[in-house]
Symmetry: C2
Subunit: 227 residues, 2 copies
Amino acid sequence: MPRDTLTRERIIQTAIELLDADGLEGLNMRSLGKRLDSAATAVYWHVKSKDNLLVLAADQLWHEIALPDLGTVDWRTAATSMATELYAMFDRHPWLVQAFSAHLFYGPGKARHDDHNLAVYEAAGFVGAEADLATAAVFTFVLGNAAGAAATASLTRRLNQDGGNAEERFRDTMAKARDIAMDFPRLRARLENPAAADYAAGPDSGFEYGLRTILDGLQDQLADKPR
Amino acid sequence: MPRDTLTRERIIQTAIELLDADGLEGLNMRSLGKRLDSAATAVYWHVKSKDNLLVLAADQLWHEIALPDLGTVDWRTAATSMATELYAMFDRHPWLVQAFSAHLFYGPGKARHDDHNLAVYEAAGFVGAEADLATAAVFTFVLGNAAGAAATASLTRRLNQDGGNAEERFRDTMAKARDIAMDFPRLRARLENPAAADYAAGPDSGFEYGLRTILDGLQDQLADKPR
DNA sequence: CGTTCTACTTGAACAAAGTGCAAGTCGATC
DNA sequence: GATCGACTTGCACTTTGTTCAAGTAGAACG
């Protein structure tokens, strides 16, 4: 006997909890049912399918993103502010990246379009017209970069706080990578004297620093080869 | 009776063919077996698991990537050349994005490290040391952007060549998006006079144009807010 | 108070897919 | 011709998404 009645909202909420806790693999209909104190199949009255549930969960989070005022701010500013918002979202819910990689990489062509959805696209610099492929690329960059930065940050946090399993596994991997890296002269130099390397930056400034660096580098490249 | 003997190489090759043709969903051990003219489980003698097979397939493609000469070229140049290579790879094998989104977004922390692997990382500007989170972000950017551009290009190609189902479906989606977009003043303006818009660019120059645009825009943003 | 209807829940069961395993085959070697 | 090891096969088990007929519980109605 379920304490609370099953509702679409409670299902979505619980699904997000499970996903945040255990990742994409942690969510299956039976574990979800157990967590909800009801049969796995009861969910199907409220939600069409598991895929649909994932979409609904993502939608929920997507709709929590604050929109910049496009009347006041130009789209470049908007894109940057979007990047920050998305950064936070991917940081809190890493499974989003896995579940919707196609959307993130291939743009919103495959995604459903509702008003808020499209407003976010607009804010992120995306235009839903077939001619505007360039802007689609920009959109992908904004999302991709936000996700990458989020991952970086969450990695840092895991290192600093978790203490234990995750840290150990990560350090193992990195130690192994380090061993291999010592065979490469450039890597070796960087590893042996990180402070002197031109890319050195505190963990927390990784996002902005990474941006700056790549911007400088690629700007140069493009300047060299016009057209 | 299989015509050819089953080999790890043939399995990987066939898996890539299936993946290229039907995407991630198109590959299951039974269909793979059928295509190889042998029992599904025969594959397991050559390959540890399906996940492992995906890694092997990705590795195969990964190893086909040409490395810039790091002795001659600085790492920024190398990163750009990598972007081009990766661009081509994601363009040819879109399922890579789906299967390895975690690697692409979260960096090589979770990936296995062999010599070539690490050489590519180095070329892409990644250093396998825990302090260098900034470079990891750069790595993610290069990959993410390459994938986005590849998707854009493959979308264009699909539109121009496929003629039929894919095009129709895409146009439907876009038409719907367009309808909704007309409610947004900025989008509407862009859609009604795309030629005049500052982002207009030929489909084929989408990659470079997208880069230029976002670089300009974010460069400005960073210039405004130092530190 | 009983009936009915609607909203919701349940357990059994099916299908798809990854995979382990015991038994078989086939070709080379002794 | 016997043996051995490499390789293959079919069966079967497990997990997981999903369907469905049958149930229940509470509100509405007579």
